[in-house]
Symmetry: C2
Subunit: 339 residues, 2 copies
Amino acid sequence: MVTIKDVAKVTGVSPSTVSRVIADSPSISPETKKRVRKAMKKLGYYPNVNARNLVVQSSKAIGVVMPSSADKALQNPFFPEVLRGIGSVTHQMEYSLTLSTGQTEDEIYSEVERLVYGSVVDGIILLYSRLNDRVTNFLLEKDFPFVIVGKPYENENKITYVDNDNVTAAKEITTHLIEKGHRKIAFIGGSSDLFVTKNRGAGYEKALQQAGIPTCDKYKIHAEFLKSGGREAVKNLLSLETVPTGIMVTDDLMALGVMSTLEEHGVRVPHDVSLVSFNNLYLSQITRPALTTVDVQIYELGVQSAKALIEKTANKGEPAKRIIIPHQIIYRDSVNGVG
Amino acid sequence: MVTIKDVAKVTGVSPSTVSRVIADSPSISPETKKRVRKAMKKLGYYPNVNARNLVVQSSKAIGVVMPSSADKALQNPFFPEVLRGIGSVTHQMEYSLTLSTGQTEDEIYSEVERLVYGSVVDGIILLYSRLNDRVTNFLLEKDFPFVIVGKPYENENKITYVDNDNVTAAKEITTHLIEKGHRKIAFIGGSSDLFVTKNRGAGYEKALQQAGIPTCDKYKIHAEFLKSGGREAVKNLLSLETVPTGIMVTDDLMALGVMSTLEEHGVRVPHDVSLVSFNNLYLSQITRPALTTVDVQIYELGVQSAKALIEKTANKGEPAKRIIIPHQIIYRDSVNGVG
DNA sequence: CTGTTAGCGCATTCAG
DNA sequence: CTGAATGCGCTAACAG
């Protein structure tokens, strides 16, 4: 390994000078800078990250923690996409991206402890938002920089987060259904302890209320992602006396499952029931029919969260921010007019 | 930050003793071990990873590099799944997982340089295998520990890799089609410079040959993932004078696209054409019809690659290994008998 | 069984 | 503008 000393020796300067050149300190003559840089290149010098981190007490790394992977939810293409977004800025800023996956909540918690106490990362991005989350509380208590992708359940004003305006988005897409003449509209959401689910549910209800359509408990269903993307949910819906003509699903992947189940029961989309969902995953354009869905700009969620976090680590005391990524409805073929 | 010195002071021993306790050195009396441990807990001591890494010249971290993310291929749920597998062992071994995403090949290359030269990671897992890959060559030349998930194009005996027996798997599933009476069987593969595509294509041909079915160039199509999962490919196939009755697709997600396009053209699966594919992604069971596909045990690919890599970093000079993960055909509803 | 010494590679005082 | 000295937190000989 070639160190700062080696290039110092070759150049005939002191190690500290080399260090200053690396930092591009203004108090070094352009002359020597050039010489030192040339030597660095020639010797193939590369700064040792650990040594540097040790002295500056920072790691130039951010941790990303995924939701507990006990379930299949992780197979959602949502994740690679946020990671791409995050990765694009970490790369650009020359940060490392440390990923933390864990089967159980305990595993995740202990890993986060290691990341924080061991000075492995300077900040953390949480890819989920759960009620009474130990990790969130831990981070908050330690006053460790972190941002949530999604909306925090509690301490909303203390936490920096980046999210979509999910209630508005949900309201808009539900309204789209209403404008197409639908009045019997159901809601199929994922795990009810995810805040997204809640928000999108709220938007759905808002739209109905605004249109003067009474909400109906039987039309609002929470399906665990695990269960074949809402197979049960659909069966319930179809067994009702008045079957809905429109369904809003909170995720494209789940919508795919819903659609399959629907058609299995001889219900055709969009002919018999219209379907809308969220995320605009790649797969939503290759399903048949292609899904009308709201593009939440997953990549951008990642980009902004990383930027916000890095800013926060660089500048502690930065106040908590709330970053809302705009959404957009992508109209495709899963919705029909009715009446 | 509470350091080793602090707990030394409190316990009335020297820092080195504390260090030995951390390493659980046998040459420390159980007596003092207990005392030291108690003090550590009381003070909330946590080892500083950077300091430790600096002296032992290792980072207890492995890097995972994703394929260049210019295209949508990354939206394949394959990736979160391998990551989960890798993460499970890194967690268990108390390693960190550093993820490297990059839009372009250059970005990836420079990032890998940083990881290697900067001693950021002890080893690297490559989540792709490409011909004449700069990164692979770099790693090979530097003699830096790495393993490939998939099969290397060159230097196969110098590189540790974990893969499925893709040609056999492809042969088996194609044979399944043949046994069901199909003789006009097409192949739709992804990007042709991916080795998987090649191998699965070879298996496909092998099966045909063995059954005495002549292969036909027009039946073998490579579709870029980007293009709506093979829309073009399907159109080509359907415009042939003798339309195939069976299609093997190299990936579930692409198969979904193929299926949609097929049905758009009024061709029903499996009634008119049977479809088989690869990966057994979650989505393959919620499509309609559910896909007959080969389960390649993505999670296990991750686990084994991480294990192999860590072993290799711990024990340089470890010979290159070849780890084959068994596959299994999952029979579902996308295949019909014919004749 | 334990303490002392030295040093990992680098950034940062403080002198000059 | 540059060099010498010091220390980040920890491990690893070398002594005892």
